[in-house]
């Protein structure tokens, strides 16, 4: 194999107009990227947008939601004019049917968008005696693994890391996080992990950590930061690619817009027109 070919990086587009061309074409395949922002910054929608468009191109994607029900997410998504008829949507809300549903994924000739509602599964197992080593983190790992075994998994979205901290028994959070990231890296699945931040405060200073345990930034291959900026009572959404390994990325702060079913970034590095 020629040297150049050996090191060629395949990328997954973000499908955000104006951003991919500022990121050498998109997110490197296999990267684990944190998508961070406070409430209302469209983190879930942005991640779903990437997943949806990958599935339209015939690939398989997995969205695991720990907090919001898939029903609620889908209502929101349809309202944003994503046409779910263009993909094979598989909703997993019953753990007993999980294996069968994932097996059916192989039979579809469209890209498969699998949405797993952990909230619904939690209701299902409420009251059941789980073993001493039972952990919701294992559930997520096993679902990703089963999905990978069912066919090529192009993209995995975990919504959200903050909810995972609450659900899982993290006796040693830093070690547990290291193992989660290592597990995902070994699976070689491009992963977007949604993570909550508090709204930026004027007195916060320059130093920002992108993780609850001060280790997530180092473990992640990339960080996409979403923020709300208020100027003269007008609030705009802003996006910046804080970090992206193996990518010559423009780290300017962009204004993020969503119009007519598409995301777009504007005014990178400049004050937006008011």
């Amino acid at each position: 194999m020629a040297e150049a070919e050996k090191y060629e990086i395949k990328r997954i587009k973000t499908y955000i107009e104006g951003l991919d061309e500022n990121m050498q074409g998109g997110i490197p395949d296999g990267h684990i990227v944190l998508v961070r922002g406070s409430a209302g910054t469209m983190k879930s929608s942005l991640c779903f947008n990437i997943l949806y468009n990958e599935c339209i191109s015939g690939k398989n994607g997995l969205y695991i939601s720990l907090e919001q029900s898939t029903k609620s997410i889908l209502k929101h998504i349809v309202n944003m004019r994503f046409d779910m008829g263009k993909v094979n949507l598989v909703e997993i809300t019953d753990i007993a049917k999980l294996s069968a549903q994932l097996t059916d994924v192989k039979k579809s000739n469209k890209g498969n968008l699998v949405m797993c509602d952990i909230g619904a599964i939690r209701k299902q197992v409420k009251g059941m005696e789980l073993g001493p080593s039972a952990d919701w983190l294992n559930t997520i790992k096993n679902i990703v693994k089963k999905m990978k075994e069912s066919g090529e998994l192009a993209l995995f979205v975990l919504d959200s890391l903050s909810a995972l901290y609450v659900l899982s028994k993290f006796d040693n959070p830093r070690a547990s996080l290291f193992h989660i990231f290592e597990y995902l890296r070994d699976l070689e699945v491009t992963t977007l992990i949604i993570s909550e931040t508090r709204p930026k405060r004027a007195d916060a200073g320059d130093s920002v950590s992108h993780g609850q345990f001060d280790v997530e930034d180092f473990l992640a291959d990339g960080i996409i930061l979403l923020e709300l900026a208020e100027r003269q009572r007008k609030v705009t959404r802003e996006l910046s690619v804080v970090k992206m390994r193996a990518t010559n990325t423009n780290i300017d702060v962009w204004t993020l817009e969503f119009k007519n079913g598409k995301f777009k970034v504007l005014y990178g590095g400049q004050p937006p027109l008011l």
């Binding site: 753990i95 007993a96 999980l98 294996s99 197992v125 059941m128 789980l130 073993g131 001493p132 080593s133 039972a134 952990d135 919701w136 294992n138 559930t139 790992k141 096993n142 679902i143 693994k145």
Partner: protein, 418 residues
């Protein structure tokens, strides 16, 4: 010429020979527990467990004799909540003993599945006993009133005693995971069981499950206690290490005799042996500060040897080259197996009667009371295995050693005369 060379080395006190690898076996699965080399009906066998729940048996040439797969029927829903990579892992060295006194040995081992398994010598399941937590404790056998019993701990916080058919006789609530392998010995005419817990308690209980005493160490105890007459008297002492980096020596009433501090967790059993023939026992043990230590019976360091990474399994003590001196063998996470001289070597700091002429300061009395040197570890051989060495075992007849590496290799090493 070779014989002359060997004779010359012997006169000089140097070791001859080298370490050779006879064979290696690729299991195809990760190995996270040490192997066992033993014999059955005059045939040598090697037993080891894997991370994905297989118990394998090899012959002395490294050929697979049989393999047992742990199959636990589990609810599909429950299966989703377990870590599929480790749910059946075998994390301790198996036991090979004639448990049911039928003249053939059986294999006993625990697993992360929570069950203790008993197989016959051909790998067929005889019985299993289920607990509510992973089993990381190596079972121990003892006879009580002519009945053979098996004692082991579970991460569910209990120490269990079952009979030779796997039926529960009693359990002891330690209220904390019991990963430590128990030791059973006789004290004042009765059998007692000593073991450690995740909370750091070291319990001593009777063979009927009544607590006699407990000692609180500063960290998790996973090591099996070693018991011996360390001072060469009739009094026994219990020696074991903890994750708090200390090695403890306790008397038979659970009182602290002494403790020695290392710089890393102590995870496995210490070996007690009289290296220098003075009637007292030296103590050799490994620590996750990358070192193996040799202490005297008073808890003073005789020597220590540092590798490049953790040493987790217990050192093996044996005379592998038949020179009537004991060697110490152990594997390190730095991928090497080390062979050390049991007595170390005395390194001179200065030559008495000569060096003090050169000294410009200090009392003359210092010269005659200060030791002219100290003991240091003496490495004899080192053999690289190419992977994290999880642990080893010795064939007491042939002095061959078997070691396992995390990537799933089993290899047989032996000393070869030049």
């Amino acid at each position: 010429m070779a014989a002359l060379k060997q004779l010359f080395k012997q006169i000089q006190g140097k070791k001859s020979g080298r370490i050779d690898k006879k064979w290696d076996f690729k299991s195809g699965s990760q190995i996270i527990s040490p192997p066992l080399m033993d014999f059955d009906e005059e045939k040598d066998v090697i037993l080891f467990g894997t991370k994905d729940g297989k118990l394998c048996c090899l012959d002395s040439n490294g050929k697979m004799l049989w393999k047992f797969n742990i199959e636990e029927k589990q609810d599909k829903i429950m299966e989703l909540f377990e870590d599929s990579e480790t749910t059946k892992s075998i994390t301790t060295r198996p036991v090979f003993w004639d448990i049911n006194r039928d003249g053939r040995k059986e294999v006993l081992f625990g697993s992360d599945s929570g069950s203790l398994y008993c197989l016959n010598a051909t790998g067929k399941l005889l019985w299993s006993f289920k607990t509510k937590g992973p089993i990381h404790s190596r079972p121990e056998l003892f006879v009580d009133v002519n009945e053979q019993n098996i004692v082991f701990g579970s991460n569910d916080g209990k120490l269990y005693v079952v009979d030779e058919q796997g039926k529960l006789k009693w359990h002891f609530d330690a209220n904390s995971a019991v990963e430590s392998s128990p030791v059973v010995f006789s004290d004042q005419g009765r059998s007692v069981i000593v073991f450690g817990t995740a909370e750091g308690d070291i319990f001593c209980i009777t063979s009927k499950g009544r607590e006699l005493w407990r000692f609180r160490a500063g960290g998790i105890v996973t090591a099996k206690p070693a018991v011996g007459n360390i001072y060469g008297t009739n009094d026994k002492y219990i020696v074991l290490g903890s994750f708090d980096k200390f090695l403890y020596a306790l008397d038979m009433n659970g009182n602290l005799e002494w403790k020695y501090e290392t710089e890393g967790s102590i995870r496995s059993e210490a070996t007690l042996c009289d290296f220098n023939g003075d009637g007292k026992l030296e103590i050799v043990f490994s620590s996750c500060d990358n070192r193996v230590y040799c202490l005297n019976c008073n808890g003073d360091r005789v020597w220590s040897y540092e590798t490049d990474f953790w040493v987790v399994d217990s050192p093996i003590v044996a005379d592998i080259d038949n020179d009537k001196r004991l060697e110490i063998m152990f594997g390190s996470y730095d991928a090497s197996v080390y062979f050390l001289d049991s007595e170390g070597e005395f390194m001179m700091n200065y030559i008495p009667g000569v060096s003090n002429v050169m000294m410009q300061s200090g009392h003359f009395s210092d010269d005659i009371t200060t030791d002219p040197g100290k003991y240091s570890a003496k490495k004899l051989w080192q053999y690289s295995l190419g992977g994290i060495v999880v642990g080893g075992s010795i064939n007491v007849k042939t002095k061959e050693l078997v070691f396992a590496t995390k990537d799933g290799s089993i290899c047989l090493l032996a000393h070869k005369k030049e």
